[in-house]
């Protein structure tokens, strides 16, 4: 499989990884585009039997370190610490599917916050203006929505894991 195909396959995971380290949506997108170009240039260096996600995450990390445009970014020491402790499990493709199912279960107000923050890419201050709420209220709402989704995904993962154990046991 070409590295470009692998890149497409793992794009959501790579973007999530880049977003974690870069912090800002636009900065993460820039990093991903630069990563794609590097992955393409260095395609010959990739060993097909090795882990593409790990290889490309290392490139993402370097691009984040190179990228100085973000208004605030972690120090190299923090980025290196985080990169060393990242768990591939947290970015599994399965999580994306489960997370989408969990979004459906959010109350309408929480879903609207998610839409404004992650689809329209408004910051909490903008969302507060749009909805006529306080910034603190929006922050709190986003925190609760994320926690609800985190708990929901964890529950579904646990249920799936139990199911597999039963099926194989």
């Amino acid at each position: 499989m070409l590295v470009q195909q692998l890149f497409v396959r793992y794009a959501p995971q790579l973007r999530a990884y880049a977003l974690a380290l870069a912090g800002e949506f636009a900065a993460a997108d820039d990093v991903i585009q630069e990563t794609f170009l590097t992955v393409t240039t260095k395609a010959a260096d990739f060993q097909p039997e090795t882990n593409f996600l790990a290889w490309s995450c290392a490139i993402v990390r370097l691009k984040v370190l190179e990228n100085q445009r973000a208004s605030r970014r972690f120090s190299p020491a923090v980025i290196d610490s985080l990169a060393a402790s990242a768990s591939p499990d947290l970015l599994r493709e399965e999580r994306l599917t489960l997370l989408m199912a969990c979004m459906d279960a959010l109350p309408p107000k929480a879903l609207e916050l998610v839409r404004l923050r992650y689809f329209s890419e408004h910051g909490p201050s903008e969302i507060a203006q749009l909805l006529g709420r306080t910034v603190a209220g929006v922050n709190n709402g986003l925190l609760k929505a994320r926690n609800a989704i985190r708990d929901c995904v964890a529950k579904k993962l646990a249920a799936g894991s139990d199911g597999r154990m039963e099926a194989t046991g």
């Binding site: 070409l2 497409v8 794009a11 999530a16 977003l19 997108d29 985080l82 947290l90 493709e93 922050n139």
Partner: protein, 359 residues
């Protein structure tokens, strides 16, 4: 140093949050760009010193990162559905395509199609930007008065295609344009990028164009289906700016919106004849155009908008943004296109019958 008044974390938090709660809110505020300097330093220290903090960071990062992916997929049904085969191909969209299906379809493509330019452009367009047509069925929490169904801020590729008339459902097209950052003192209205008009004709061609313009089709069938069959009124808006130039006579910008039953393949070069046709076929066509002089203050953006009541017989919308200016060269007025910018184009359903989704 932040104060209690400007500390969004303390403001939002219970009076005495636990260390875990505090860290949770610091991490979330990092992702939302809401950290004060001292809070950022606190988070960095915590991430360096504590493996527990790093583990929690990744747990929340996975939610934050994948939530963005999920929102892009879930709220942009048409944008995601479009097969990323060729930016020049016309597509009318379809049902949402799963990530796996997308990857599988991609793998089926011939090598030549998977050129870097296509990958970069469409990967960004379909999976990164996803600024496509939003699904109305998920808008249960949105006021029916104004639902954004399309946004374009030119933050991510692909840039508009080059063509002489509206052609695409999934891509802006038109005259020669360039996506730029801050230019000539003009700061993008939103985000880091905006579109500047380069000429009044597609790149590598030349004819005496009248205005510099971009356009795009929207399939009303999907919007109607999502809106329970009714779609009454839509509004197209865009922000325009003109760079400061002393000898320019009244640059102007404009937007037009056409509801029509004519399929893109049947559009002709004189597609603006649709305006005249609309008056004769009110059951299937409607058109509206707003144009306005642009001030020459590069610091100000001017919002222009056009609204149409969508006739029941209309099947498509044409979104159209245009600009023009004349320069006085001392002897005569010379038409030119450079120096105008457009950003944050938005299509909104401003009146529709939207059933609340069952819960």
């Amino acid at each position: 140093m932040s104060t209690p008044q400007d500390d969004p974390i303390n403001e939002a938090a219970p009076p005495t949050p636990s260390m875990a709660d505090r860290r949770e809110m610091l991490i979330d505020s990092w992702f939302d760009g809401m950290l004060a300097d001292d809070q950022f330093a606190e988070l960095e220290t915590s991430l360096i010193e504590s493996s527990e903090a790093r583990q929690e960071f990744w747990e929340r990062a996975s939610v934050h990162g994948l939530l963005r992916e999920a929102a892009k997929l879930q709220f942009s049904s048409v944008g995601v559905a479009t097969p990323p085969v060729n930016p020049a191909a016309t597509s009318s969209g379809g049902d949402g395509m799963s990530l796996a299906a997308f990857a599988a379809a991609w793998c089926e493509l011939p090598l030549v199609v998977r050129r870097i330019v296509v990958v970069v452009g469409w990967l960004a367009a379909v999976l990164v930007a996803s600024r496509g047509i939003a699904s109305l069925t998920l808008a249960g929490g949105v006021k029916p008065a104004a639902i954004v169904v399309h946004e374009e801020g030119f933050e991510t590729p692909p840039p508009p295609a080059q063509n002489f008339q509206p052609q695409h459902f999934d891509l802006w097209g038109g005259d020669e344009t360039e996506v730029v950052g801050v230019t000539d003192g003009v700061v993008p209205h939103g985000g880091a990028r905006m579109l500047t008009f380069v000429s009044g004709h597609p790149r590598d061609t030349f004819y005496e164009g009248v205005v510099a313009e971009i356009w795009r089709f929207v399939d009303l069938t999907e919007l109607r289906a999502s809106a329970g069959g009714r779609l009454d009124r839509v509004e197209l808006s865009a922000f325009f700016n003109a760079a400061q130039t002393g000898d320019v006579v009244k640059p102007f910008g404009g937007v037009s919106l056409i509801a029509t039953d004519t399929h893109p393949r049947d559009f002709r070069r004189d597609w603006r004849a649709q305006f005249a046709a609309a008056a004769k076929q009110p059951a299937s066509m409607a058109a509206s155009e707003i144009r306005q002089d642009l001030d020459s203050d590069s610091r100000t953006w001017q919002r222009l908008s056009a609204t149409v009541d969508v006739p029941e017989g209309a099947r498509y919308l044409v979104l159209h943004c245009f600009t023009e200016r004349w320069r006085n060269d001392g002897e005569r007025l010379v038409w030119e296109s450079m120096g105008q910018y457009v950003d944050d184009i938005r299509l909104e359903v401003v009146r529709a019958a939207i059933p609340r989704p069952p819960r």
